[in-house]
């Protein structure tokens, strides 16, 4: 089960730090949702956040592209650096940030538009293409990256909402990679998918690792073990343990981590 992770482990140390979070606190009104989380996320690596429901892993993920800004009562302290720049700096425009840090959501949420328009939307609003041919190229490349091109190339004008669940989620991944992000955040991307679609998306995540820093939140420990090289275990808003996936699953240092992965808590 842990084959993939251990096989890839050697490459992890060679990569550098993409995201550095220091003493991050998140409050929802009076609720202290994230406590003192510090973590270094490496480039060209899949990092998995695991933990029981309500432990704050999705909340923390949403801090990384400032999606929490849309929630009025959310307040964030501490600093999160991407490529050494504080993303909560006043000068940072969250819109630019989100072009650099793409996101895939729990439920496939394609726009109720054509497949082409779904993928082309990001490049269009960011002005990535000069001509229609450019845009066609970008869309094709993104769909190929998301391993969806062969399935949809004949029906690019069909609505994206008409695809199957797994295809929709890969369409969302294509939409996210079309804007050429450097980091890809995935919030339980397979929780609404069947095992076959899950397998396809996991394969895809492994390929995306070559170009992006991928951060994935997952409820499935098997999934974390299959796709990630590094794993962070969250519990009650704190980061309990963060290490290579292999180590977390075979030799956890903290007793809470051990309890969780062996199924005693959570």
């Amino acid at each position: 089960m842990y084959d993939t992770a251990s096989r890839l482990e050697g490459q992890v140390s060679a990569t550098d730090i993409k995201i550095a979070a220091r003493d991050v606190q998140v409050f929802y009104g009076d609720n202290h949702a994230i406590k003192d989380v510090s973590v270094d996320i490496q480039d060209k690596t899949v990092t998995a956040f695991i933990g029981p429901s309500g432990c704050g892993k999705s909340t923390f993920l949403r801090c990384l592209n400032r999606m929490n800004d849309t929630i009025d009562i959310a307040r964030i302290e501490g600093e999160i650096l991407i490529d050494g720049e504080d993303i909560y700096d006043k000068r940072v425009d969250p819109v630019q940030l989100r072009a650099k840090v793409g996101m895939v959501f729990q439920k496939p949420n394609p726009f109720p538009k054509s497949i082409f328009d779904n993928v082309a939307y990001g490049p269009k609003i960011h002005g990535l293409s000069k001509t229609r041919a450019d845009l066609d190229d970008i869309v094709e490349r993104a769909l190929r990256r998301a391993a969806l091109w062969d399935e949809v190339k004949d029906r690019l004008t069909a609505p994206g909402t008409g695809l199957s669940g797994g295809q929709q989620q890969r369409l969302c991944i294509a939409r996210a990679v079309a804007t050429e992000p450097e980091v890809l955040l995935m919030d339980e991307p397979c929780s609404a998918l069947d095992p076959i679609a899950t397998g396809q998306v996991e394969e895809l995540i492994d390929e995306l690792r070559q170009d992006y820093s991928v951060v994935i939140v997952t409820h499935s420990m098997q999934q974390a073990a299959r796709v990630s090289q590094k794993t962070a275990f969250f519990h009650l808003g704190s980061l309990v343990e963060y290490d290579t996936t292999d180590k977390i699953f075979t030799n956890p240092q903290d007793s809470r981590t051990e309890s969780y992965i062996t199924g005693r808590i959570g």
Partner: protein, 450 residues
Amino acid sequence: MTDLSAGAASGQTPRSLTQTDARTKKRNAAEKRFRAYGMAAIAAGMFFLVVLLGSIVTNGVTAFQQTFLQVPVYLDPEKLDKTGNRDPEEMKKVSTFGYKPLVEDAVFAAVQAAGIETAFEDAGDMDALFSASAAAQLRDRVLANPDLVGETVTFKILASSRVDGYLKDRVTRDSVARDKNIDAAHLDLVDGMRDASLVTKSFNWDFITGSDASESRPEQAGMGVAMLGSFYMMLVVLGLALPIGVAASIYLEEFAPKNRFTDLIEVNISNLAAVPSIVFGILGLAVFIQFVELPQSAPIVGGLVLTLMTLPTIIIATRASLQSVPPSIRDAALGVGASKMQSVFHHVLPLAMPGILTGTIIGLAQALGETAPLLLIGMVGYIATNYPDNIASGFFDPNSAMPAQIYEWAKRADPAYYERAWGGIIILLVFLFAMNAIAIILRRRFERRW
């Protein structure tokens, strides 16, 4: 309770599923009763609807039929154009008084030519048969085409409201007994003329396109001008209420922080939707007419007042449809780096469009049928000029509106106006049905699944 469950658990006798126990019977009976209540309620509703529509149609449909006298009229050059050079400017000097004897003579001659027995021996007795507006109609026709003078033209003369009522069974010999405008002998004459096809009923276009008429000429009154007034008002409402309402809802729903102040605004908008319309009328009177000094009876003022009334409806409908757009769509747009505004205008608004349009049209339909505020701001202008002359042509000219016109007619003493009021209601309802149909079509067309 413990006994019961212990007994059931021990299961002395296994319960049969084919026999319904008392409790189940009671529940089933209650359910059946409830369904019966529901069906009774719907049946009652349908019954009232049928009665309502039935009475409107039976009372109003006659307004769309009008009685005309079809007689050849000799346009005597001696009387209409003494100089003989057919100059319209000179011919205008002959007023309707000059034309009236021509009509009387023509009707009398036609009666005699048809050999109808009558006690009347004077052409002057004929004027109870045709409308007071007949002379004006004839004059308009002659002035429009001066070459007709000297010829005998078959002319459709508007019958008087009494004759019209007689053919529609509204006026009877009993009812004319004390009527000084017409007497039973005239009705006998009408019977004869009907047999000779001199009196016919035909579709009344003038009722749809014409203008209001004086109290004594109900046969001439029409809805056209009031329709125009309503049309101008609806333009104002659409032009103001839709953008303001949609902008306000988008801001409140998507951008505004959720705090006490926005809560207060929200509550007040809901309350405004329930404010009686006459309050908006008096507000419009105080603000738009007395303070801003806009002209009275003008569609612009009516439109502004109705805009105030319609805004809460549009805002509530728009907010509801914005709320019904799944938040995942907003997340998706923000996630690929769209700005808040882009996410709203590219994704949320198109999905909310069917709801917004439906709400707007329902609001407009409400405004179209609103009467009380119009009475307060004087949108009951008496416009009796037919187009194209000097008709209430714009937003600032005095005008009337459909519901106000209906109200005016219903107030008038002549029973002929009662029929017009019902007819007006039919026209108003046709507009409302059409608007609701458009709302349904738009909703179907724009509806998309996600």
